[in-house]
């Protein structure tokens, strides 16, 4: 246990040490102060001709257009991969619903996979299709965060930046350089990188073993850095090719959170008040540590149903890999669900019930515990608006954030986003039960089956992408509705926060006085965390009581299903 906690502590220290300078660098990228690729940037944007400063509305239109086009391209590649080149295994084109689901999934940075990569995707689909969107969906989220930060910082301005510029800079200065470095490191540490599709081996016992292979390292780097999480192989980062060593596991976990954490500092720098970013960092950190602690405790306790047959020292090892151990898997599970990454290095379906519930809650809170690149920050800002509103009333002033009045318009937009998770998870999940498609897709009987369903719709709406993988999502119904949940969970948050940023940008900030309560102090951080937890808990407690909580009490009572 000591060794476990030491690994976790080391992770936290290195993560923050990397995120702070990266965050400050990113702020310079978005203010245009990083110019080492200026000629490339200028040529590109010149050719694109996307105009100058945009209002939030125009920015949103650009963002939507670009995502729609990316969706169309990916959909076409997936459906027609059989007639396209680079298909060494000769895979078929995808069905319409799987192609729809997958295209939506990668464009929305969810990277939910209703399929197994090595049995479905050609190398062209993996590279040109999926890897491209791994970059572009991440860049979209990052551009959004930059625009939102500008709006929040703005003093009576009508514009929030230029989408094409932000997008281009995100790729050129942040995602691509980091991915290049990380991919080479990954390759050096043993991840395959080849255009071959598979290798045949003759095992020591004389059997034939076909080993799927491909350009893994390059996809893995951006998969983690861009909080994408879509694996090359079915089991994602549990696969020894995607994650051959404890050190690759460790680097992957750092890559999962480094940009989301860095955005707290980017934000602080861009709005000109470091402490505000620090407060968000602290609130997210409290939630992450609490989630990790609960997950670890549940998994470390192991499964009492197996206690008679299993040495208790290692905790629950079903679905985990020996080289990472319990801690390497638990820490990963906490970060990947918190960060809206969704890659897994252990099978979440086999987590003990309460550990599975923490993973779900991490997503149900709205993917704001650092969250996805860019969108984690902006999602958190929506909660900040709600919290500021309540807190502001309690100190007897019209609520203010960064000196700007939070009025009916902002509250309306933020309150609207409170409906997204309940609709995506409860309404669409309930609908699946009502029409019977849930029952036919789950693997396990009893309350765990319900958990599989809730997890699937939670993951989709939260744009996470991890799964209780026993759930068979590759049906027309689930592919369609999970796809819709992903769209809702992506653009349902993006547009309101962009509108709020647009509205706040036009306001004149009032200088702080003793009468304005500070949004960087401990009291506010506590209140923010409490608001997030209470909203999340109140929304999902009934469903969770029938899923993981019911399973936990059944497990303790010695019941199997």
């Amino acid at each position: 246990m000591q060794a476990d906690l030491l690994q976790a502590a080391l992770y936290a220290v290195v993560l923050v040490a990397l995120a702070v300078p990266l965050g400050l660098y990113m702020a310079r990228v978005y203010t245009g102060d990083v110019t080492f690729l200026a000629p490339v940037e200028k040529t590109l944007l010149g050719a694109a001709g996307g105009g100058g400063e945009q209002s939030w509305c125009t920015y949103a239109v650009s963002l939507l257009l670009f995502n729609a086009a990316g969706f169309a391209l990916l959909l076409a590649i997936l459906m027609f991969q059989n007639v396209l080149p680079l298909n060494p295994q000769g895979f078929d084109g995808l069905s319409w619903h799987l192609a729809f689901n997958t295209a939506v999934s990668f464009v929305t940075n969810t990277n939910w996979q209703s399929y197994g990569g090595e049995t479905t995707m050609s190398n062209l689909s993996q590279m040109v299709g999926l890897t491209t969107q791994n970059f572009l969906s991440a860049a979209t989220g990052m551009a959004l965060a930059a625009a939102v930060a500008r709006g929040f910082a703005g003093r009576q301005v009508r514009t929030v930046g230029n989408f094409w510029t932000d997008m281009t800079r995100s790729v050129l200065y942040i995602l691509l350089p980091l991915s290049l470095v990380l991919a080479v490191v990954f390759a050096a540490l043993g991840m395959p990188q080849t255009l071959a599709g598979s290798v045949d081996a003759t095992t020591l016992e004389g059997a034939k073993q076909t080993i799927a292979i491909g350009p893994v390292a390059s996809q893995l780097a951006i998969k983690q850095l861009g909080t994408n999480g879509g694996g090359f192989f079915n089991v994602n980062s549990a696969h020894p090719f995607e994650n051959p060593l404890a050190i690759t596991n460790y680097l992957s976990m750092l890559a999962i959170l480094v940009i989301p954490v860095a955005f707290c500092f980017t934000y602080g720098r861009m709005i000109g008040d470091r402490r505000q970013g620090l407060a968000l960092f602290a609130a997210m950190g409290v939630l992450l540590v609490a989630g990790f602690a609960a997950l670890y405790a549940a998994e470390h306790a192991g499964n009492p149903l197996h206690a008679a047959f299993v040495e208790p020292v290692t905790g629950n090892m079903e679905g985990k890999e020996q080289r990472f151990g319990l801690i390497g898997s638990v820490l990963w599970a906490a970060t990947t669900t918190a960060a809206s990454n969704g890659s897994v290095n252990a099978m979440h379906d086999s987590l003990t019930p309460l550990a599975g519930m923490v993973a779900m809650l991490n997503m149900q809170l709205g993917e704001i515990v650092y969250g996805g690149v860019g969108v984690g920050l902006t999602g958190m800002l929506l909660f900040v608006i709600i919290t500021v509103f309540l807190a502001g009333l309690m100190v007897g002033r019209t609520p203010e954030y960064l000196g700007k009045k939070i009025e009916a318009k902002e509250v309306k937009l933020a309150a609207l986003t409170l409906l997204i998770m309940p609709i995506g998870v409860l309404v669409l999940g309930g609908l699946a039960i009502a029409v019977g498609t849930a029952q036919s897709s789950v693997q396990d009987a009893g309350p765990h089956g319900l958990s599989e369903l809730i997890y699937a719709y939670t993951s989709a709406t939260g744009n996470n992408g991890s799964a209780f993988a026993g759930f068979n999502a590759n049906t027309p119904w689930h592919n369609t509705f999970l796809g819709l949940a992903m769209l809702l969970g992506r653009f349902g948050y993006m547009l309101p926060i962009l509108a709020i940023a647009g509205s706040l940008g036009t306001k004149m900030p009032a200088p702080p006085t003793a009468g304005t309560f500070p949004t960087h102090g401990t009291v506010f951080v506590v209140l923010l965390v409490a608001t997030i937890l209470i909203v999340g808990a109140l929304t999902f407690l009934p469903a969770l009581a029938l899923g993981p909580i019911a399973e936990q009490v059944s497990m303790l009572a010695g019941t199997t299903f």
Partner: protein
């Protein structure tokens, strides 16, 4: 209209840049600098590829150390329309995904444990790995099999145990991950042990 142009231009450029140039560049670098790793860390014995050191393989013989239970499956060689259990199918990775309260999981764990002997067994030997391709077992899991392997190979248990000792990998950098034994490499070393070993 300028928006549509920007969309098309940037989507095309970024597809070329991130979808083609980037993976090809990494492939080029990897194949030039780390060719063995780039191709999957394959292990050859006498010119034959016997597997990848990163990918576990199925061992059923008592003469070999066994890896962890694997939940992968594959098409039935006799009837392609059916799927059958096929441990360590490296073309279709998967975990069991069984629930903690799953009856079949509880039964499987019990059966695996009882097959290994009475009482509690190392967790890695009775639970399925996440990938179904886990190349490692815990040192405890290896030591638990020493007796059986030594008997099957008519070797001194002490010699096999010494071999295992030499094959235990500690935590990386002394802190990361868990101590472990690579099953394929252990078995390859086992095959190289002189018959009769250090005299029984």
């Amino acid at each position: 209209m300028s928006q549509i142009r920007a969309t098309l231009v940037l989507l095309a450029v970024f597809t070329l840049l991130t979808g083609i140039a980037y993976p090809l560049a990494i492939t080029g670098i990897a194949e030039a600098v780390f060719p063995a790793k780039a191709k999957g860390s394959l292990v050859e014995v006498n010119g034959t590829v016997v597997g990848s050191r990163l990918i576990g393989q199925s061992f059923t013989s008592d003469r070999y150390f066994h890896g962890r239970p694997s939940a992968t499956s594959g098409t039935d060689p006799n009837d392609p329309s059916k799927t059958v259990e096929q441990p360590y199918n490296a073309a279709a990775s998967t975990g069991s995904n069984l629930a903690p309260t799953s009856k079949s999981l509880a039964e499987a764990v019990a059966a695996r444990a009882q097959a290994l002997g009475p009482g509690r067994q190392p967790a890695d030997l009775v639970t399925a790995s996440g990938s179904g391709l886990d190349p490692h077992i815990s040192p405890a899991g290896a030591y638990a099999q020493v007796e059986r392997v030594a008997t099957a190979r008519k070797l001194a248990p002490a010699a096999v145990r010494t071999l295992v000792d030499s094959r235990v990998e500690g935590r990386e950098f002394g802190i990361l991950g868990e101590p472990r034994v690579n099953v394929l490499e252990l078995n390859l070393a086992l095959d190289k042990l002189p018959p009769g070993g250090a005299g029984s």
